[in-house]
């Protein structure tokens, strides 16, 4: 999931012809002032923090300016902020438009009906979750014909838009549909979409790109820069890495088994910390990599729960014992390993003779991991 900041989303919008306020991005107070002086941003203007969290207006992360000096000081103040834990790296400066009504539009996926879902509401400018259900229109769009004329007319009616604004809306909806499809978006949202004169302008942009489509969108690779070092390594190795609050490390294969393992640990009074999901694989090389990655996260104990489908358990066990040897003595942690599947008896023998607690029973092995973590930081 690649969440684009507003300015990045607007760059995408611009490419597809969605009408936007004139403006530019700045990374320092100097840049902000220069942008106004050079006429890139007409006055009066609005200056917005480029962060992913919502509620910027209330949080003081959106300010207004009537001169280059004011733009400078507003941009400086916002760039010094940390907004809901996120450092502000950029501000977006845009002309302040005389806006009329504020509307809402988005495209996302309806999983149950397996169709794109076009959502429209005449109540924009607020969180869509807070709008009454009766004021939100939802229609699915079939990807084969694409967005049709009658679907767009329905949106115009819902939004109460007519005349030249309706013609502007028609083109804008086509653009939005193209962004959704061609950019492989999970979500494309304009909130608010503002009536300005007899046209429409997207005042905000929220675009989320699907990770699985990364192979045809190399341009978004540089957007993913907010990961920790360990998360980045895990990503490269195609291991799902999630940090929770606890101190027990969990390595499992497959999302379902991973979650079931966490559920059991929690029930037994344990607190799962970092967990690594190898996906559906039981590739011994990947198990070893995950183990070494886990060692760097400094867990109090580690519970490894692998169901072997393709690889034999003894092969996985051998790889694991080898990996243990690579962890420096100062960073060792108690390991409880449960490996089920082909040759599980041989696997358990190898682990036990290497001093690893190993039992078949899920509950018993989870209990051992909880006990091992107890009394450790």
């Amino acid at each position: 999931m690649v969440k684009l900041a507003e300015w990045q989303g607007k760059n995408v919008f611009r490419k597809y012809g969605v009408p936007l306020p004139r403006g530019t991005i700045a990374r320092s107070a100097d840049e902000a002032e220069a942008a106004v002086r050079e006429g890139k941003v007409p006055l009066p203007c609005v200056i917005k923090a480029q962060v992913l969290a919502g509620g910027r207006g209330k949080g003081g992360a959106v300010r207004f300016a009537n001169s280059a000096e004011e733009a400078r000081s507003a941009a400086g103040a916002i760039l010094a902020m940390e907004f809901k834990g996120e450092k502000v790296r950029e501000v977006l400066l845009e002309e302040k438009l005389p806006i009329g009504r504020e509307l809402y539009l988005s495209l996302t996926l309806d999983r149950t009906r397996r169709l794109p879902l076009l959502i429209a509401s005449p109540h924009g400018g607020v969180e869509i979750e807070s709008v009454a259900d009766s004021e939100i229109d939802r229609q699915t769009v079939d990807p084969f014909p694409g967005l049709t004329g009658y679907e767009k007319r329905r949106v115009a009616q819902v939004l109460g838009v007519s005349g030249s604004a309706a013609r502007s809306l028609d083109r804008l909806l086509d653009s939005l549909w193209n962004v959704f499809q061609h950019e492989d978006a999970e979500l494309v949202e304009i909130n608010p979409l503002a009536a300005v004169g007899d046209g429409l302008v997207a005042l905000d942009a929220k675009v989320i790109i699907e990770d699985d489509a990364a192979f045809r969108h190399p341009e978004y690779a540089e957007v993913r820069d907010d990961r920790t070092e360990l998360e980045e390594i895990a990503r490269e190795k195609e291991i799902a890495f999630v940090q929770l609050d606890g101190n027990i490390g969990v390595i499992a294969n497959g999302a379902g088994l991973t979650m079931a393992t966490l559920d059991v640990l929690k029930e037994l009074g344990g607190a799962p910390g970092v967990f690594l999901d190898l996906g559906g694989t039981d590739d011994p090389k990947k198990v070893t990599e995950a183990f070494l990655l886990m060692a760097r996260a400094k867990p109090a104990s580690v519970f490894l729960n692998i169901f072997g489908g393709v690889t034999r358990c003894d092969t996985v066990a051998k790889g694991l014992v080898e990996a243990m040897g690579q962890v420096p003595a100062s960073e060792r942690f108690p390991l409880i390993a449960r490996i089920r599947g082909n040759n599980e008896k041989e696997g358990i023998e190898i682990l036990r003779s290497a001093g690893v607690t190993s039992v078949f029973d899920l509950r018993a092995s989870a209990q051992a991991a909880v006990d091992a973590a107890r009394g450790r930081p």
């Binding site: 999931m1 996926l109 999983r111 149950t112 397996r114 169709l115 794109p116 979750e129 079939d142 990807p143 084969f144 499809q181 492989d184 999970e186 699907e210 990770d211 699985d212 489509a213 192979f215 045809r216 799902a240 999630v242 929770l244 499992a252 294969n253 497959g254 999302a255 379902g256 088994l257 991973t258 979650m259 079931a260 966490l262 559920d263 059991v264 640990l265 929690k266 029930e267 799962p272 999901d277 996906g279 559906g280 692998i306 169901f307 072997g308 489908g309 393709v310 089920r340 599947g341 082909n342 029973d361 899920l362 509950r363």
Partner: protein, 293 residues
Amino acid sequence: MSVLVDRETRVVVQGITGHQGTVHSRQMRQFGTSVVAGVTPGKFGTDVEGVPVYNAVRDAVEATRANASCIFVPAPYAKDALLEAVDAGIRLCVIVTEHIPFHDMLVMYHYAKSKGTRIIGPNCPGIASPGKSKVGIIPNVVFQPGRIGVISRSGTLTYEIVNGIKEVGLGQSTCIGLGGDPVVGTSFVDALPLFEADPETDALVMVGEIGGTAEEDGAEYIRHHFTKPVVAYIAGRSAPPGKRMGHAGAIITRGKGTAETKVAALEAAGAKVARFPYEIPGMVAEAARKAQR
């Protein structure tokens, strides 16, 4: 009569010359599946452990009368592979490939549906009916023929649970792994009627995960149309909201698709809901005893 696959199932493996394709073709054959052909463009005339390889699915179908496909083709080419299978007249496609963009899957699903082809997956372990046929990658060792049906959104957790059913001396009629992606070809609601109609299934195990509303939709079907006993389990009860837990399917947002809403819907539909995987075998045994009375 089992569900979707039986001894008449003749499988063409798309992407058979890759590592996964080769390994799992072998395991399918060991299970008893008729793997009649493989397809890898440009590899016509070769064979993989005795299975003839064709350049195109249509060629494979003409030569071998294949009637089901198992797709291992990498994500960027999976859409094309599926469309090819559908156009060659294949009416059951199991897609093992993971990380297929959902925009591709939308096109794949609706195209297949319009031609009468059922998709299982993507990102799924496939389907197996012990003693008959397996199309996919579920380990052979977890199975034994029996009368318990299994529908699951998970992969390895399914293996764990099916194995547990075997360990208490019960067997499976058919097991379907639906896959955990946001858009799947077959969901709980699509699979449940098949097990309701299957005379070889006495009771059903349903394994769900947090995220989406597929379990709630399934519960709605069970409440109105499903007459056999159901034991359900939902993974992810302890998952914090908003965290993506491993793959695209397992994410909770905006108070929907939580473990609580799913468990409540299933219980209201009359299903027995296990709190942990290890409770399932005992509950299934109990349900099976009741069903036979």
